[in-house]
Symmetry: C2
Subunit: 189 residues, 2 copies
DNA sequence: GCCGAGCTTGAACATATGTTCAAGACTTCG
DNA sequence: CGAAGTCTTGAACATATGTTCAAGCTCGGC
């Protein structure tokens, strides 16, 4: 059990999938290309991941986890600041890169094309929606859970639009205005 | 020049691509599957479309044309009705089907993965944005062209979000609220 | 009826891709 | 060191896929 290097290689394989998926879409993700990008032999990919669907599922799960971090509150901050922070984070520089957005897009497409992937994706989406509704509830204690969920739904529409439209190369000012719009929705009286 | 049947076959091949792309994504689009779905022989696909990229480009162009129809004004109606109609059309029953949305998603993913496809797609997007800005200008003559473009940008963010989020299975009421939001943006004073 | 041009077919070829596996390298522990 | 277990490699196999092509079909015009 060579803990360091093992995790390293296994993780590098996932990194390679993310890189290839982001740059060339699912057509660019084949076992040989993954192995090359990760700098390992072909056989090793199948050693850690029984087959291609398993490999893709592992990638989906990894992305789902990083999405949850977006709505994980910073315990230091006040509730309203937590919410504002979360709303700005989705348009932050780490997220609004072509690489990340392109990856998201390909993952959505993947989920749309395959029942199994769709389940993993839908669950992550529901958790994100739930996390966002909770943040809203904390920041605006007067709202019912239903109202919070409604606002979370509305916000996610705009957020997804921001992500998608960023990829199509819209003016960045439109993104800033859209962030403001999500804050209006969240904090409206 | 057997006009009727020829156009029919050639068009059926494009239909087949759309169907396969929508259901299984780009991985499901291969020459054999296209031929089978269209009910023609394998060779005929390569007869009409020199190679696979040409086939995909033909599909992208076809979708681009149908997008333009969304912002093509009905000359009978008043300018503000034209705009309102256009804004409601994008969430109409013909558009908001899983098949169509799934197709859009896969086309975006495709454009993201391939430089050549990206160009076709970006041009269609710009034309759509332009058409929308024109509709806004007609409905609100007081606005400058710049202000119209700004509003069109903002609306498209929400519209893209509606499309994408519909696929992820959000509550339909959120879509209705988002349409209202696009109208607010368009008609704001 | 027959010719010619365009349309249609499916076999054939070259290449790409997922998966398996026997063999070797490396690590850990006695 | 040496054995046992784990990790790593690349060749090999079966299948899938894009493309080509020679042959057949269809149909309008002579």
């Amino acid at each position: 059990m060579n803990s360091g290097a093992q995790v390293d290689r296994q993780s590098r394989i996932l990194d390679a999938v993310l890189e290839l998926l982001s740059r060339h879409g699912i057509s660019g993700v084949n076992m040989r290309a993954v192995a090359r990008e990760a700098g390992v032999a072909l056989g090793l990919v199948n050693y850690y991941y029984a087959d291609k669907p398993s490999l893709i599922r592992a990638v989906l799960n990894r992305i789902g986890e990083s999405d949850m971090r977006l709505v994980t509150p910073d315990p230091e901050a006040r509730p309203d600041e937590q919410l504002r922070e979360a709303l700005r984070r989705v348009a932050g520089p780490e997220i609004l890169t072509t690489e990340y957005l392109s990856l998201r897009l390909h993952l959505w497409a993947l989920a749309q094309a395959d029942e199994g992937f769709a389940l993993v994706n839908a669950e992550a989406f529901d958790q994100y929606l739930d996390g966002l509704a909770t943040l809203i509830g904390n920041a605006k204690p007067g709202l019912s859970r239903e109202e919070c969920k409604e606002r979370a739904d509305d916000i996610v529409v705009v957020q997804n639009g921001m992500w998608l439209t960023s990829l199509l190369g819209i003016d960045k000012a439109a993104i800033q205005r859209s962030i403001a719009r999500t804050e209006q929705i969240a904090f409206a009286d």
